[in-house]
C-alpha cells in the first residue's frame, strides 16, 4: 500500500502519530526503570506495539525527519521536547541521525532491541560508543536511518591525477629487453594482430592451475572449524600469556613497569567478574617474579610488592568477599584457593568476614584454610583483627588465635571476655581455653555470671577444662543462687560438672549437700539439681565423692538414680 505522502490516501491524524511518540517515550522510561518481567514495563511495550500495528493499516512504512528538538512527519511536527536530557529527538540528532523509518514487523521482532539501543545511547560515555556505533552493532532490520557523519566533516577526498605524462614505449622496451621470453611472447601477439593466425601465448589457460587459487572442500572445512575455534578462544588467557612472557625480560624495565601497572588495573576487573583463574595466574606470576632474584629491578620489585599488598587490602578482598557472600560470583573452589594462597596480612580482615558470611560450604572451607595460612604467617594481623570494630572479625580472630596457639593474643583474649557483643565474649572464652591462658582466668570467672547463657556455659566449661581451682568460690556463689535453679539443664550440668573438675577441697561436702542434704523445711533439692550434683561428684571421683554417691543410690527419683549410676560408673 502506498505511503500517505504519495497523495493517494488520506493522511493519518497527526495527533495519533504524536501519541505514538508519547507512548514510545513512556516505554523507554519503563525500560529504564523496570526489568522485562515487570507488568508495568510489559504494559507500555504492548501499548507501543499496538500503536505501531495501527500504523500499518494505512502505510507500509513510517518515515520521520529528525530535527534538533522535534520530529516531523509529512512536514508536520509530531513530537517535540524542550528538555534535552529527556528529548528523544535530541538523542538522535546529536549523533547525526537526520531521519529514520519504522518498518512493519518492528513491533514483532525488534521493539525491545530498539528500546535497549535508545536507552543505552542515553548512558554512553563521551569517549566511548555513540548511538551510531551501537545501532551498527545491533544491525536492526526493521528500524533504518540515515545520518550525517559528523566525524567525517572536512575530509579531503582522493581524486584521479592526470595520468602518466610520457609515452610508455621506453618502459615497455626496458621491461622486455630484460626478459627475452616475454619479448618472444610479445612478438607472437603482435604477429597475430597483423592478420596471421596467432598461436597460443606463453601464458595460456593450460598453464593456469585454478586449484592453486580455489579453496578445496577440506580447506573450507578447516577454515570453518578455525572460525568456530576463534570465537571460542580464551583470548584473555592468550594475552596474559603474552604479558607474562614479556614481563620476564629484565632488559626492559620500563616495559616491566608498564605490564605490572596493567596487571594492577586488570585485577579488580577480573575479581569483580569472578574470573579468579585469570586473577590467580596474574598473582602467581607477580609472586614468582618477586621471589626471583634477578627478575625485577628495585623499582619494579617495589611495584610488585605494592600490588600484592593492594590485592590483599580490604578494598579488593572486601569486594571479593561481598560478591561471594551475596552469590554474585560462584567460583571454583580450587581457583579460589589458588588466588588466596598469595594473600598477605591485609586480607585477613575481609577473609575473616567471609569465613563467617559465605554460605557455600566448600567456599567457606577454602576461605578458612586461607585464614589459617595467613594467620600463621602474619601474627600481627591477628592481633590487629582482634582490635577491629567489626565483631565478626574479632570473633574470627579470636578463634584463629586459639587454633594456632598464638600466645601473644592471650592478654587481648582476656580483655575481650568483657566485650559488649556476646559472640565476641564467647569467642574469647573459647580462645582462652585453646590458649590455656591463665591470664584470662580472672575474666573467665567473671564470665560465669555473664548475661549471655552461651558465654556462661563456655566459661564454666573452660574453667573446668583448665582445672582452675581458684574459680571454685565463684562457682559456689553461682550454684548457691536461685538463678542456677532457673537455668536450663545444660547450663546446670555445665556448672556442676565443671565445679567438680576444678577440684575444690570442699567440693565433696558442697555437692553432697545438694545430693543428699535437706534444705529449708527439710526439703530435698529438685531432681535436676541433685542429678547435676551427682555428675559433679562423679567428676571429683575421690573415694569420698563415691561414698556420697552411694548414699544416693537406690533413691526414688529416676533422674537422680540415673545420674548417680552414671557418675559411679565414671561416665559423662
Amino acid at each position: 500500500m502506498a505511503a500517505p505522502d504519495q497523495g493517494d490516501l488520506a493522511p493519518l491524524p497527526y495527533a495519533e502519530i504524536g501519541e505514538l511518540f508519547v507512548v514510545l517515550s513512556k516505554a523507554l522510561r519503563a525500560h529504564q526503570l523496570y526489568d522485562e518481567n515487570n507488568p508495568v514495563y510489559q504494559r507500555f511495550v504492548s501499548q507501543l506495539a499496538e500503536a505501531l500495528r495501527g500504523l500499518w493499516q494505512d502505510m507500509d512504512r513510517f518515515h520521520v525527519h529528525v530535527e534538533e528538538d522535534r520530529f516531523l512527519w509529512m512536514g508536520e511536527q509530531v513530537y517535540r521536547s524542550t528538555s534535552r536530557t529527556d528529548s528523544l529527538a535530541f538523542l538522535l540528532y546529536k549523533d547525526g541521525i537526520r531521519d529514520f523509518t519504522f518498518h512493519p514487523g518492528l513491533e514483532e521482532h525488534e521493539l525491545t532491541d530498539l528500546l535497549l539501543v535508545l536507552n543505552k545511547a542515553r548512558d554512553l560515555r563521551p569517549e566511548g560508543d555513540d548511538l551510531l556505533t551501537v545501532l551498527w552493532e545491533k544491525d536492526l532490520q526493521y528500524f533504518t536511518y540515515s545520518y550525517i557523519d559528523l566525524l567525517a566533516e572536512g575530509i579531503h577526498l582522493p581524486s584521479a591525477g592526470e595520468g602518466y605524462g610520457g609515452g610508455f614505449q621506453d618502459i615497455i622496451q626496458a621491461e622486455l629487453q630484460a626478459d627475452p621470453e616475454d619479448l618472444a611472447a610479445a612478438k607472437q601477439g603482435v604477429e597475430g594482430e597483423q592478420g596471421e593466425t596467432r598461436e597460443a601465448s606463453v601464458v595460456s589457460a593450460e598453464d593456469f592451475n585454478p586449484t592453486l587459487y580455489s579453496l578445496d572442500p577440506l580447506e573450507m572445512q578447516r577454515i570453518q572449524s578455525e572460525v568456530e575455534l576463534e570465537m571460542r578462544r580464551d583470548l584473555r588467557g592468550d594475552v596474559l600469556a603474552a604479558l607474562f612472557d614479556r614481563v620476564e625480560e629484565p632488559r626492559f624495565p620500563q616495559r616491566q613497569q608498564e605490564i605490572l601497572e596493567v596487571f594492577r588495573a586488570l585485577l579488580p576487573n577480573l575479581l569483580s567478574r569472578g574470573s579468579l583463574r585469570a586473577a590467580g595466574s596474574i598473582i602467581e606470576e607477580i609472586a614468582r617474579l618477586r621471589a626471583s632474584e634477578n627478575a625485577l629491578a628495585p623499582e619494579q620489585r617495589a611495584l610488585a610488592e605494592e600490588i600484592l599488598d593492594q590485592l590483599s587490602g580490604s578494598g579488593s578482598m572486601g569486594e571479593l568477599i561481598n560478591a561471594l557472600e551475596d552469590g554474585t560470583i560462584s567460583p571454583d573452589p580450587v581457583e579460589l584457593a589458588a588466588l588466596l594462597r598469595h594473600l598477605r596480612a591485609g586480607a585477613l580482615k575481609p577473609l575473616l568476614r567471609g569465613a563467617e558470611g559465605v554460605e557455600d560450604r566448600k567456599i567457606k572451607a577454602v576461605i578458612q584454610d586461607a585464614v589459617k595460612s595467613i594467620g600463621s604467617k602474619y601474627f600481627e594481623a591477628i592481633i590487629d583483627c582482634m582490635g577491629s570494630e567489626d565483631p565478626v572479625v574479632v570473633v574470627g580472630a579470636c578463634s584463629l588465635a586459639g587454633k594456632i596457639q598464638l600466645a601473644e593474643a592471650a592478654p587481648l583474649v582476656a580483655d575481650l571476655v568483657y566485650h559488649e557483643v556476646p559472640s565476641v565474649r564467647l569467642a574469647a572464652v573459647e580462645a582462652a581455653l585453646d590458649l590455656k591462658a591463665s591470664t584470662a582466668a580472672t575474666a573467665l570467672q567473671e564470665a560465669l555470671t555473664d548475661p549471655d547463657r552461651a558465654v556462661r556455659i563456655a566459661a564454666a566449661r573452660a574453667l573446668g577444662a583448665l582445672r582452675y581451682r581458684p574459680a571454685a568460690q565463684a562457682f559456689k556463689e553461682v550454684m548457691e543462687r536461685k538463678a542456677i535453679r532457673a537455668a536450663d539443664i545444660s547450663e546446670q550440668i555445665a556448672f556442676f560438672e565443671s565445679y567438680g573438675l576444678v577440684q575444690d577441697p570442699e567440693g565433696v561436702r558442697f555437692l553432697d549437700g545438694f545430693l543428699n542434704g535437706r534444705g529449708f523445711l527439710g526439703r530435698k533439692e529438685t531432681g535436676e539439681i541433685r542429678a547435676c550434683a551427682a555428675l559433679g561428684l562423679g567428676k571429683i571421683g575421690t573415694p569420698e565423692a563415691m561414698a556420697a554417691l552411694e548414699k544416693a543410690r537406690g533413691g526414688e527419683d529416676p533422674v537422680v538414680r540415673s545420674a548417680v549410676n552414671r557418675a559411679l560408673r565414671g561416665e559423662g
Binding site: 526493521y142 566525524l151 618502459i171 592468550d238 605490564i259
Partner: protein, 480 residues
Amino acid sequence: MTARASQPPKDSARLQDVGRKVLSAFYAALRSLKLYPLENSAVQRALDDLHRLLYELVEQEGGMELRIVGDFFFLNETRLRLDLSNYSTFGSFARALSDHGLGAVEVLPGIDRAEWAPFLSLLLREPGGVDPYEAFMVAMGGAPILHIQVVPTKEVKEPELEEEALHAAKRTYAQSVRVAQEALTDVRMGRAVNVRKVKRAVQGIVDQVLANEPSMITMTTLRDYDEYTFTHCVNVSIFSVIIGQRLGLDRVQLYELGLGALFHDLGKSRIDVGIINKPASLDEAEWFELQQHPIEGMLALFHLHGFSEVPYRQMLMAYEHHMRIDLAGYPKNRRRRSPTLFSRIVAVADAFDAGTSIRSYQYQPSPPDVVLEEMRDNPSRGMDPVLVKALINATGVYPVGTLAILDTLEMAVVTGVQRDLDKLHQPVVKVISDSMGVPMAEPLTLDLSERDPDSGLPIRTIIKTVEAERYGVQVSDYLL
C-alpha cells in the same frame, strides 16, 4: 548523507533464506542427474524438491528470476551472499550457468515439473562451440521447455564501479586514513585516542566492503594520498575484511577483524620515528627495536579508553601479526602459543600491502602478482597458505592496480577481478597505451577472458607485470 537499507527487511530475509534453498535444490538436482539416470529415485526426489520449491516461490512472487552478477546471485532483486557454507554449491551452479553463457534464469508461472529434467540436462551438456549461449538457445528450442527462460551473460550487467559506490569508497577511505593518522599520532604524543571515531571508520570499511568490495580494493591502490604509515593501516584493514568476508565471517566478526587490522601497527607509534622512516637498511640494534612494535602495540591498546570490553582480540592481532605460522617470526615466546586466525589474516593482508607499497627503504615494490606468488609459494614467508588463497580469490592473480604489458605491447592497468576461478588470471583491464606506447586519450576497458570469435583465442594476454612506481606511474590515476 549516508543511507541504510530501505528494502522491506522481512521480505529480504525471507528471500535470502529461500534463495539459498533454491540454489541448493538446483545444485542437488544437477548433481544427481550427472551421477544417475533420470529414472533413479534420487534424481526424481531432487526434481520433486526443486519443483515444489520453485512452484511455491513463483506462485507467491508471480515469477522468479535468478541472476548472477559478479560475486553475487540475485533472487528477484534480493542479493544472496556467498560464504563458506555455500561456496561450493553456489560456485558449481554458477559455473554451470556461465559455461553456457547464461547470466540469468527466469521461471514463469505455470511451470511444469516435466520441464526441469530437459533444462538441467542441457546445463550438463558440454558448452557449444564459439557462442555457447547461442548453442544453448538452439538446444532449448528443441526441448519441451515453455516456462523457463534464460538471459545471456552479456545482457546481465556486471556491476562496474558506479559513481556512487566509488564516491562512497573514497569517503570511507579518506575518513579511515584521517582516523588512522589521528590515532597513531595521538598515541605517539601520549594523548587520548578517540576510539569512537576509529570504530565508526572500521564500521564504514565493513559496510563498504560488503556493499561494493571492488571499490575498496581500488582505494588500496592509492599511493601518494597520505603518509604510508596511515594508508597502510587502512589498507591492511580493508584487505583483512575482504579475506574475512571470503571466509564467511559475519558483520560483527568482520568489524572485530577490521578494528584489529587498523590497529595492528599501533606499536610503531612508540618506536623512534627515525627508525620507522630510515631510508637505508636497519642495523642490528635498530632492527631489534623495530621488532618490539608488536609488543608495544599490544600494550598501547591497554591504554585506549572507549571500549566496552578490553580489546583482547585486537591486542593479539597487534602482538602476533609478525609471528608467522611456524612461529619463526617475532616476538619469540616462552609459553606455548598459536597465532589466532584473525592474527594470521592480518599477517597476510599486511605482507601483501607492505610488499606492494613504496616505503622509506623500498622505493621499488614488486608488482602485486609477484608478491602474491611469493606469499603463496615461499613457505619461509610464514603465511597461512589457505588465507593467501582467500586473498587471491578476492584480488585475482593480477590484483586491481597491477600495471601490465599485454602481448600486443599495449600497456594496461588491471581494473577488475574475475569471479570465475578458472579465469582469475584473465582480469578486466584498462588499456592505457597502444602498441606503440602512445598513451590513449580514452583508455579502453577489456575483459581478458573474452575470446576472439574467429580464432577462439583470448583477445589479449598479460605477458609481464611492471613495477609501476619504478617508472613513476600512478595506477590510481586510471582507477578513480
